[in-house]
Structure formats: C-alpha cells, structure tokens
Symmetry: C2
Subunit: 299 residues, 2 copies
C-alpha cells in the first residue's frame, strides 16, 4: 500500500529545557514518514537545497522512504529554529529561512499520480492544490495547514478544504479558521466547509475527531518524557493516515484505531529530539505501547 506525503524536509534547530540540537533532520514530511512507513510505502514529495547533508538522504533511504520526488535544487534547505519552555506545549519560532521552499513546485512520477492515499502536510495551499490536481483518483486526502496560511491565504485554503476528506488542525488553527472557541463547534464549522472528517490536535491533551457519523476524543499517551515535541502532530498524522492507507475499508472502528495508532506514534516522537526516537521504531514497539495505552485510557 502506498501513500504520498507532500510537505517540508527541513534542518531544524531546537532548544528545549533538555538541550539544544542544531540542523537536525526535520520537516513535516519527514516526521509524517517516520510513522507512516510502519504501515505503507511512503512517497516523499518535497524540496531540499544543495546544503542538505548526504547522510540524511541515506538515512531516509534506509528507512524505506521513496525519494523519487524529493527535488534537490540550487539554494539552501528550509531551516526552522524554535524554542520550547515550561510545559513544552507551545513552540516559539526564533527564525525561519525558507530557502528553496520559496520556489517549490512539486513534481511526481506517472506511477505516483495513481496513488490513492495522500497527505498534504503544511506548505502553501497553492502548492497543496497543485499536487492534488495532478493525482488521477485520490481516495483519501488528508490536509494540514498552519496559522500563517489561515491568515494570509484563507481563500486558497477554504477552496482546498472542499477537495479533501480529512482536515487536520491544531486547536489554535481550528479556532482561528472557524471563528468558534468551543472545539466541538469549531470542528462542526470546519466540516461544514467541505471535509467529511475533522481532526483537532490538542498537543498534550490528545485529539478530537468529528465526522458526519460520529465524534471521538482520546487523550494523549500520558508520558513524563517530553524532550522535544517538534513534529508530534505530523508523526500523529503519519500513524493515522498510514493505518488507514492499509485498511481495506474505512469504518468507525478503523478510524478510532487509526487515531490511537497516531497518538502512540506521536508519543514516541516527543521523547527524543527530532526523529531520534521515531527513526528506531518498529511495528512491535507501536503495538506494545498501544497495549499500554489501552490500559491507560479504557474503562
């Protein structure tokens, strides 16, 4: 089973109470891939610059990520620098260097155009739409975005919402785009914009899901080892979409399970810097922690 993820491949510099790391491998597409690869063949659609370390290419390749549509271009790789304090719930962006991201136009192969499962991770909505239009007959399209696009390309984002199946947003984004403070109302308002399913990520507080058929809410995996939450949302999306890509039929039980897998995948992500933990992850680790998670949340 194959899945496409469109997003960023970045060099992240992150400071948390637990230390600082410079130019780690990061980006939405990479974090997504680390979880999705456990369920499906991940086709990464992204751009890097000439300064992108060869060792990171080798690493992604070793992890089975398909790099056919990872474009290398003149210029610098996208760089993000951020800091977390206190409860580590909110990232403070210190610096962003777009580099080659500003000229990114995704290109995919004829074979990739036939892939049914797509995740449009956070990039310019016009780029997301561009890729979506190149697909022959996508069956499950997930979309993520960020406050910057909600504020600066709202109309393009709303157009896109009509074309996707699942909109994934964090609580701030959901409130901002819907104009609703209550998250259930926010999810309902966003669903009215087009997507059949809305998934609101609440960081350490878990996830709220809403479709035309049901509501589902689960907490995050309770952990005291929060080292670096960068990419937790994308890791969640990777586990969630990866599980659904593998499912034969998408029903209520399957979606709930996919959300649980995404939650557990994200819990590994936060326990190390960058992809330190998720890179080492096997399906067995995921299953073992899912069993623990069940004990922690089911009654």
């Amino acid at each position: 089973m194959s899945i496409i993820v469109l997003g960023t491949v970045a060099l992240d510099t992150v400071k948390t109470p637990f230390g600082k790391r410079r130019h780690m491998l990061g980006g939405s597409a990479v974090h997504f891939a680390m979880a999705a690869r456990l369920f499906a063949d991940v086709n990464l659609v992204a751009i890097i610059g000439e300064d992108f370390p060869k060792k990171y290419i080798n690493f992604l390749h070793q992890k089975g990520v398909i790099l056919t549509s990872l474009i290398k271009s003149k210029g610098k790789t996208f760089k993000w620098e951020g800091q977390y304090q206190g409860d580590l719930n909110t990232a403070l962006t210190l610096n962003t260097e777009l580099g080659v991201l500003s000229i990114f136009r995704p290109v995919i192969s004829p074979a990739q155009r036939k892939i049914k499962n797509i995740f449009l991770a956070n990039v310019d909505p016009d780029i997301q739409m561009h890729l979506l239009r190149r697909l022959h007959s996508p069956q499950l399209v997930g979309l993520d975005s960020m406050n910057y696009w909600i504020n600066h390309k709202r109309r393009a984002l709303l157009r896109l919402l009509k074309k996707v199946d699942i909109y994934v947003a964090n609580d701030q984004e959901a409130r901002s785009l819907s104009g609703q403070a209550n998250l259930v109302k926010a999810a309902e308002a966003l669903r009215a914009q087009g997507p059949r399913m809305v998934l609101i990520k609440k960081g350490e507080h878990g996830v709220l899901f809403l479709s035309d058929k049901f509501i589902f809410s689960i907490p995050a995996y309770p952990t005291h080892k929060v080292v670096d939450p960068t990419g937790a949302g994308d890791t969640f999306a990777g586990g969630f979409m990866g599980f659904l890509a593998r499912a034969k039929k998408i029903n209520q039980a399957g979606i709930k399970k996919a959300i649980a897998y995404g939650t557990v995948a994200a819990s590994f992500n936060v326990e190390g810097f960058g992809v330190q933990k998720t890179a080492q992850l096997g399906r067995k680790d995921l299953e073992r922690r899912l069993a623990k998670f069940r004990k922690y949340v089911l009654f």
Copy 2:
C-alpha cells in the same frame, strides 16, 4: 452509604457569553452534592449567612441533601462573582465577599463523625484539617484546594496532603504546588507528598489520574453546549467520590468507572447556569450519557 462534603455554600453571580445570573445557589459543597446525591446520602458541612434564601434551603432538602451540619450564622453568605470569555476555560473573578466564611468552624454530629467517606472541598486548609481530625476512622478522604491556599497556606496544605487518600487539583494548581510543568511529573510529585491517588482536572481536556498502581487519562465529554462551567470540578468530584462511596471495594476498574461517572456528571453541569442542569439529574440520565461517552472515547 453516606458521604460528608465540607465546602462552601455560596451565592454566585456569573456572566458568560450566554447570559448573566445573579445570586444563584452555588459553592463547592453544593455542586459536589448535586452529583454525589445520585450515589450516596450527602451530609453537607458548610456555613451560610442570614441573607441565604429559604428557597435554596428547601431546594437542597428536596434533593435529599442532609443539612444537619449546615450552620446559619450572623452575617452575609459567601458571595462569588465571576466572568467567562472565549473558550470558557478560565474564570475571571470579579469579586469575592467572604462574609460568614471568615468565621467558619465546622461542627458535625456524633453520627456524622462515624462516616467513612469524606470530601474536603476547597476551604481554608486549617478548617479542612479541623474537620478531618473530628472523624473517627475515615476510610476514603478526598481533598481539593485552590491557588490561594497553595500560595498563602502552603505548609498547612502539605500537612493535610499526608492525611488524605485522594488529592484533586486542576492543572494550574498541580503545576503550582509541585513545581513541575509536565502533568505526569506533577502528579508523581504530588503523590510523593502523601496521597495514594492524585487526580488532575484539565477542564475541557478531561482528567489525569495517578496512583502507585496505575495511570489513567480520559477526555472530557465532548459537548458544544458549554454555558457556565462554574462548579464543574466539584460536580466531577461529587460523581467520582459518590460512586466510590457506594463501591464495596476500591480497585482499578472501580476507580476508572468512578472517573467516567464524574466526567459525565460534570458534562451536565457545564450545560446550564449554576445547578440548573445537575439539579434535574437522575441516575438514568447519568447512565444514558455514560453509554454515549463510551462510544465517544473507547476504541
């Protein structure tokens, strides 16, 4: 089965985006009683002033709350005035008039001294300790407090923590008293202060429970009808302690179920002003919503 709740009986004035109510029946002991009465005989230990409306006494009496130890004293009833905005997660206190609360010394009857289940809702820790010492052989003691006491009577509160079984705190209080930003760490640190069990209330994000034996985390009941969250935490505690008071043996499954009942009770509380909704509640309503809740959160 009997339970004692020590706390406040108040006249609340509340403004939310859904309206304003003046001098409603409120207070921690009242909200607690509205849920606990569905499981046990609730003995209310509190103080009121001469201005306390007779209709509220009649109301509490009709609801089966035992008022033997509700002291009426010269002076004014405790009054709280607050406002909620936006997502209604945080109350802004506009005014507090302690009134007779400042001279409160709880008195209980010989029969009440034999009661095994006690909830010390938020009042001065010295008053909480005073009552606790008058009990013959309490078996399950729950404790709530607030930031004011954490800051102003920290030592008295820490002494009290060594004497209780369950400490119930909201996330801010848990972080403040433990000095830990991560909630799992905060719960562990608080447990190290004495109580076997720690319950952290996270408002719209649900509850985190930690004991020496297990961790448990569930989200709030997903609702878009949040009208007035005043007393939601006490309603939760009432459902939780009420259910445990009724249980023959307190084990893991029972505690989880008690937390679920508390969660569902609290979800009714937020749907109306004051005790508007919880006053009408029967066990059947609770059971029906619990069944829905299971669908919303189990996978």
